[in-house]
Symmetry: D2
Subunit: 359 residues, 4 copies
């Protein structure tokens, strides 16, 4: 399924960048879960564009309107549904994208798949704008996980494979240390990263990077062997985020003797001395933090001239992409990665069947 | 679901390492597809242990017995079912794994999840042995894809992050150049890799590595936006392979100007000049090869003493893992990665709904 | 999943009767399918209340607003999403339903399941009003099926198990003969049925009935053995319509000699001489019409006093359901049954994998 | 999916009537559930053919061999897999079924769907024999439900719509009163039913009937609104049983005033005074018994000559079906209906997410 995710919960995302609205439905959620809409808005604002000088100036208020599923501040058992109406809608900017596709975008593949019927304006359903409804669902799951003591946080790990933040402490990730504006562990690298982004913008170029995400407070025993493993479930949704091209769990060491995490006991609880396995063995959590890194490709929208083709003429054609665009989406992708992780983990918790406890 | 994969096809894998048998069912396959059992056996033999001096000496003939779904050399529309009976079954070697879990294995997480009811012998359902039925399903899908002109091949890209093979040519991966015994592009590195593996064995240690896999001949337009994208579908199954901890599509460049793949026209067909996107834009194939790399952790079974815990006593306990084990599973994982890719791609092809062609 | 249906398409229905809006998302639909919104509205109007004197006077314009998935009159490949805003929203009428559940309604089961968090107003997510989004999805599928020559029509077969319409000719159902206002084959029974309904209303009572639905123009070979059979797929969605309590395919005869449908050849095509099997053998269509009947229970909302309980007090309590309600929902359920059938059949068509044709 | 069922559990059934084996895999089952194989065999024997003079003399021991998922008498968390090897395999009896299909069987629809590649022998994957693995899965689920106090039992309600057994008491179904050989509530009707079956056999004919099934001990609050309702989940699997053509829940009364089940309180628990709704309101259990009836068509295999067609010649051809067959499969279908119900209910229990209990 294209825009549907989940085993026990069912998330369905809809909308086109320049259509009437974008939104999501989220089915399978228990009744009685509290919903804090202000907290959700704060979370969504972290993804919103135009908040500072390193992202696109197109400004929208991504303020979701809930149509279903919430009553008096709690989930009511009906599927949740929320929409965000688009304000910056259809313009003439995108008229020729069906004939002359932008390199690095989905224009060409959409043209082949949908035969010209696709909504090309603003990338249509392929737009990064569709991560806003993902953040609605994920922001809610994040709240419900927090009530269980499960926290999720991410930071910019590097920009352009050049300037690196510190990594999370794998045994005890410093989630509280990460800021929300330009989320970093080590603020000293932030300035250089922002300069790198500004430099890309000045050159009409863009720059990618990597995000590191940690999940703490997970119980041991969550997940399934093989295709229902925690890595598989997270991977499926993380790769659903536009622009993600790689994903790695933990920090693998090449030798078994150093990669194996020795067990220990701490206050009666089983722990591991290191956490190279990212809290997952055999697809199942061991109670240590789950930590993964996500590679985000540079925004394909750049202002320098690019070589494309005219599909109708069957010949090469130069293309200049107009409009103003994020020179780097990595900062805005941080809450999106958190949202995706929250949805995957909350779904795993809802799906969890373990041992019959009667024996 | 734990051991079930697929949208249009439904693969279900069963068995425990030391149980009566392992096997798979594969539902949703069209009738009339030819099945070459000799070719399948050749493929399975690539995964089989004990074929040479860099893997475990435990030798089994992984010869599947088909119980359903094939008639006179063709699929007959009924679900396929195949079993491999285990010959080396339950021994006393694994008696205390439930109390003293092996670091890096699923012993501890299985104990938590299944409350002691799990079959710990040989890793039970978590054993790498379960990749044999995955290779049955994948070997068949690979045959059917080849009939459509879609080829899948993989090679050892590095061992221990130390000794590297060449990478596939991203525009035209040299699948025919890869051998089947110790699959490499550049044979000159093979000897040093094997020495590295032998050295790990000699030290009672193990070593991991990376595999690069390429898929050629794919039509453009395959896949879906968001969670049904080619990356998501491949990722879900690749992360279902035990020991996989990272996955990357293509070779990302940090700047948009170099990462975007310019379009060109070749003999009337749209191509790209580079292939950093790994043949996938917006989750959908663009007709260029799909190439990805998979990180395989070092075998957790090592013979040096390790720190574990006694779960019953709640205290640290030294553990020496007995038996002989692969010092490196990367070579044997190569066909497993191919099999997983074949299943994902064949499922995508069966699921493909595109444009209504009437207009 | 509660409100999600489909294998290849994914329908998700959301909303509460008195919430801000009801609606649906429909994913997995090919691009390029024409959408006739006027025709859809005509279809939806058949389900709308308050159109005549045998249904409830509460009048709403069920006019869907499409938020996604349609561009210039054609599907564009993005998931379809449509909402209907509720005009008659939350009133005080339903305040005590959480304590004193209405017999025959879902008030009590919702209270148990959702622990008091459910939206009880107007039945919440259990309201018959939720069949409006089902009709949006089904009305579209019906249009697309018609373009393929597949027609779906239903009629009131009986009211109160007392007054019966003719049955469809099983070999050639007279779909064109069925009217749209009070859909019948034999108009002479209509007047008596309406009198029966009026009599139920006059007595503060309600009355149920049965609907017969036929699908013509189906290709042979659609469906799957066992759980993916045409009957199973139709049954799952038909039983998702509130108030449905039975479903029968064809007219079974008790003896094999009369129940078996003899084969014949007509203009070179294989046909059957009778059609007791309802066009389905082994879960798969044989090219003859698929015909089934659906039992609809009488509206549980009746105005005579009923015995309920006070859940808080744990004692019996008399209940008088206020407001005005349909004394019979069978006429309005006719398009809902057609819609459900259309969704099931269109999903089957999208899912269909048959024979590899190369041999 | 053809032969796959379930949301939280995943049942996959494989095999052809005359292939090497039939069997099933069952994934998603918690570890630690006791498995009583003797009890399972007793259950399977109820379905076995050739036990008496009203069924087919072909005798097989349907003795499943478990390949996976059970250890020391308990489920171990790995998927369960079981096979039954076929003893009466491929004969020449079925050679011409691909050209001259048997009326009432799936021969023709299989031929269209699978293009001649299907295994026609004995009905292949469409054979009633495939209900044996359904009974393995269902027999296990039945055991696990019984441990929770949930019982399932069925009886022959009528044969040939002529001779009727009593109905279950809807408030308190007499499950213990039903025998296992020729399961009836009122033994006095049994003799006449058996005579009716013997008469059909003597005439080279067959006869159908109806089965009534009851489920007791269900908690209130199980199920979901709309497509995940208890009726939908049961219907999908019941219609997956070959020969089922109708299904009705409860005994509907045509007037709301008599069909609504008044609430009462018994020993502090909410009950209903009648149980027309079959224990289900809005798709969710109310704690009363769930009771449904299933119509089973007469065995299509009859020995009198029938009109078929030669598909190759495109002309009518008389067909005499050879071999000996059950003149009535209703008695043997009784445990199959119980098995299907048990699987549906156990899946519902595993899937159940209700209210967050913290408030």
């Amino acid at each position: 399924m294209s825009s549907t995710y989940g085993e026990s919960l069912k998330l369905s995302i809809f909308g086109q960048s320049h259509g009437p609205a974008i939104g999501m439905t989220l089915d399978g959620i228990p009744a009685g879960l509290p919903v804090d809409l202000n907290k959700l808005q704060t979370f969504l604002n972290r993804r919103a564009p135009g908040q500072n000088d390193w992202s696109t100036p197109r400004r929208e208020e991504d303020r979701p309107e809930f149509l279903s599923g919430i009553l008096d501040g709690y989930t009511c058992g009906a599927p949740l549904a929320a929409v965000i109406y688009n304000k910056n809608t259809r313009s003439g900017d995108y008229a020729n994208l069906k004939d002359c596709p932008r390199p690095g975008h989905a224009d060409y593949t959409a043209q082949v798949k949908y035969g010209g019927f696709q909504d090309a304006a603003g990338g249509g359903h392929f737009s990064g704008r569709l991560t806003a409804p993902l953040c609605i669902a994920g922001g809610l799951c994040k709240q419900w996980l927090e009530e269980m003591g499960i926290k999720i946080g991410a930071h910019i790990w590097n920009i352009g494979a050049l300037i690196y933040d510190d990594r999370f402490n794998a045994l005890s990730p410093e989630l509280d240390k990460v800021g929300s504006d330009f989320p970093m562990l080590n603020e000293s690298a932030a300035k250089r990263m922002q300069e790198e982004i500004a430099s890309a913008r000045a050159n009409g170029d863009s720059v990618g990077g990597e995000i590191e995400c940690a999940i703490t407070g997970l119980p041991a025993g969550l997940g399934e062997p093989m295709f229902g493993g925690v890595e598989s479930r997270i991977a499926q949704i993380i790769y659903g985020i536009p622009a993600v091209k790689d994903l790695a769990f933990g920090e693998m060491h090449p030798k078994g003797s150093t990669n194996n995490d020795a067990f220990s006991v701490e206050n009666g609880a089983v722990r591991t001395v290191t956490n190279r396995c990212s809290g997952i063995l055999g697809g199942i959590t061991n109670g240590m933090p789950v930590i993964f890194s996500v590679g985000i490709k540079p925004t394909p929208s750049i202002s320098c001239p690019q070589q494309s083709v005219s599909l109708s003429k069957g010949e090469i054609q130069e293309l200049v992409v107009k409009g103003r665009h994020d020179p780097c989406i990595v900062p805005r992708a941080v809450p999106v990665v958190e949202a995706a992780a929250a949805i995957a983990i909350y779904d795993l918790i809802l799906s969890n069947t373990q041992t019959d406890r009667r024996k």
